[in-house]
């Protein structure tokens, strides 16, 4: 099965006389196998993938609730409600999408072993995520000032529930990214070992990929 192997076996003739001799103290510990059967995907990535599946189902439930009210109303948005800032939020969407590209660039940087570049790029990603949250918060304050609150109407409740939960997820991703950035500065990530960075990238990509769906549903549809 193995064409050219340098495996050493116990039944080799030159080793046969030595097998009967005992080593004092049991001898040296055995060598670990070089080609271990490594899984195709690490346990950490599989766990994050399961978590993202659960998050996707959570947002599917919220979107389902939104669809019931949206499709069941003859007029949408309902009359006498403040209009949503479509243009500013569209620009905000571009900022968040840019952060996904920078995160991807960061993963490529660690793949090439460029740790300093990775730190710089992670900082850019965190800054873009922070700008997104800041603009969202500013727009919400304006909407609350114009009378759109969680309890003002079903429209307001739906808006703040959907967009609010996404913002909480972005905040969580930002905190995770901050921890990853600190670890990167301390040199924890190498070309062959950067699972923490990979899993953070997976969650960040999920949060960024979810936003255009919510933007199209809530702001444009």
């Amino acid at each position: 099965m193995v064409k050219s192997s340098t495996a050493y076996r116990l039944d080799e003739p030159e080793l046969a006389p030595q097998t009967s001799q005992l080593q004092f103290g049991g001898g040296e510990p055995p060598n670990p196998p070089l080609n271990a059967n490594l899984p195709v995907i690490s346990n950490e990535r599989l766990a994050v993938m399961m978590f993202l599946g659960a998050e996707a189902m959570f947002f599917a439930g919220l979107i389902g609730a939104f669809l019931v009210f949206r499709l069941g109303s003859a007029v949408w948005p309902p009359p006498f409600q403040p209009r949503l800032p479509v243009g500013v939020t569209g620009f905000n969407t571009l900022i968040l999408l840019a952060s996904a590209f920078t995160m991807r660039a960061g993963l490529k940087a660690i793949g090439c072993g460029e740790t300093k570049r990775l730190i710089r790029i992670l900082g850019m990603t965190a800054a873009l995520g922070g700008i997104f949250l800041a603009i969202q918060g500013y727009e919400w304050i304006r909407l609350i000032h114009f009378g759109l609150t969680v309890s003002s109407s079903v429209y307001g409740g739906l808006f703040y529930t959907l967009i609010g939960f996404h913002a909480v997820h972005v905040l969580g991703a930002l905190i995770w990214l901050a921890v990853v950035l600190v670890k990167a500065r301390r040199g924890h990530f190498t070309t062959s070992s950067h699972t923490g960075l990979l899993t953070c990238g997976m969650y960040w990509t999920f949060v960024v990929g979810l936003w255009p769906v919510l933007y199209a549903l809530v702001y444009l549809y």
């Binding site: 193995v2 064409k3 050219s4 192997s5 340098t6 495996a7 050493y8 076996r9 116990l10 080793l15 030595q18 097998t19 001799q21 005992l22 080593q23 049991g26 001898g27 040296e28 510990p29 055995p30 060598n31 670990p32 196998p33 070089l34 080609n35 195709v40 995907i41 993938m49 399961m50 599946g53 996707a56 189902m57 599917a60 439930g61 979107i63 389902g64 609730a65 669809l67 019931v68 009210f69 949206r70 499709l71 069941g72 109303s73 003859a74």
Partner: protein
Amino acid sequence: MNRRYSLTLIGFSAVLLAPAVATACAVCLTGGADGSVADAFNGSVLFLMAAPYLVVGAIVGWLVYAHRRAVAKRKQYTGPDVRLVWNHKETGR
């Protein structure tokens, strides 16, 4: 076994031949089946029915893709297969 099959057959027949008897949805029973609200509920339910298949399909699809990529990568490797077999400590190696 025959009793179970006959009960299943009766259940399917009731759904097809007498849907008013078999429906348990409150929206259908209250007569709002033609309204826009009922349509909205239908659409939402269809979306939520499809969501798990999409999510699980995406995860499984990615796993299959990752496995095939790993197999292709292993096939590309043509170097020697160096393995150190674990020997018992008392052999001295």
